[in-house]
Symmetry: C2
Subunit: 138 residues, 2 copies
């Protein structure tokens, strides 16, 4: 399963309502539901009235998802990664491969951005004489 569930018994008061989840993760309600519908977040608990209840594990998992998304992993890749998680330990090698591949991609992104900084600094050199009005608004 995707979300680590340490025990079968979960202390009820540690579960978060959707609104609390939004606060904790910074992810919107719509996006949380979207991720769940796409299989990125499985086994979300429900209250008696059908409302979702998120665990601390869900919070951590959403943070992982956002980290990967924000560094350029596509929904499709993320879905694949989650599917592998759902399929059990036999997929661990491939999950490791995916993480390693993404890791090197992130390193490339850092390199690309370092080069960008150099280019920007080069252009900024042409503005060395320009004083920026610190009082300027907006």
């Amino acid at each position: 399963m995707v979300t680590p569930t340490p025990t079968s018994a979960v202390s009820a008061d540690s579960l978060l309502t959707p609104a609390e989840m939004v606060d904790r993760t910074g992810v919107t309600l719509d996006t949380l539901r979207y991720y769940e519908s796409e299989g990125l977040l499985s086994d979300v608990a429900r209250a008696a009235n059908g409302h979702r209840r998120y665990s601390e594990g869900d919070v951590r998992w959403i943070n992982v998802l956002r980290c990967l998304r924000d560094t350029g992993m596509s929904m499709a890749q993320l879905r694949h990664y989650c599917d592998l998680g759902d399929q059990g330990a036999v997929t661990r090698p491939e999950r490791k491969r995916i993480l390693l591949a993404h890791r090197s991609l992130v390193e490339q992104q850092i390199e690309e951005r370092r080069r960008a900084l150099d280019l920007i600094d080069g252009k900024l050199g042409a503005y060395a004489d320009v004083e920026i009005d610190v009082e300027e608004r907006s």
Copy 2:
């Protein structure tokens, strides 16, 4: 036929044909025209038959555009930046401001990616025992 086009014959006056521009910049024909139509690339020369002719300056400028785009500057911001350039020296302070702002954004991106590396490495720790089949083909 995939026979290499006779690019050995460099176009006169060191101006580049659209196809040559694609080779030099890695940007597609459609995108080059799109950028021009959006005002990111002005005053592109034309041959007698109406075909575009790009200068070495155009090549350098496209590289700047791609650098900024690839680090998250939106088309709208890029358009604004180019408009300022077209308006002359009076806009230099704002152009500098934009570059500085984007510079700090890129630095934030690097920081975010460093944190991503930490998180990925943390997860990779759980796979320390996993051997990846190096022979695996794909």
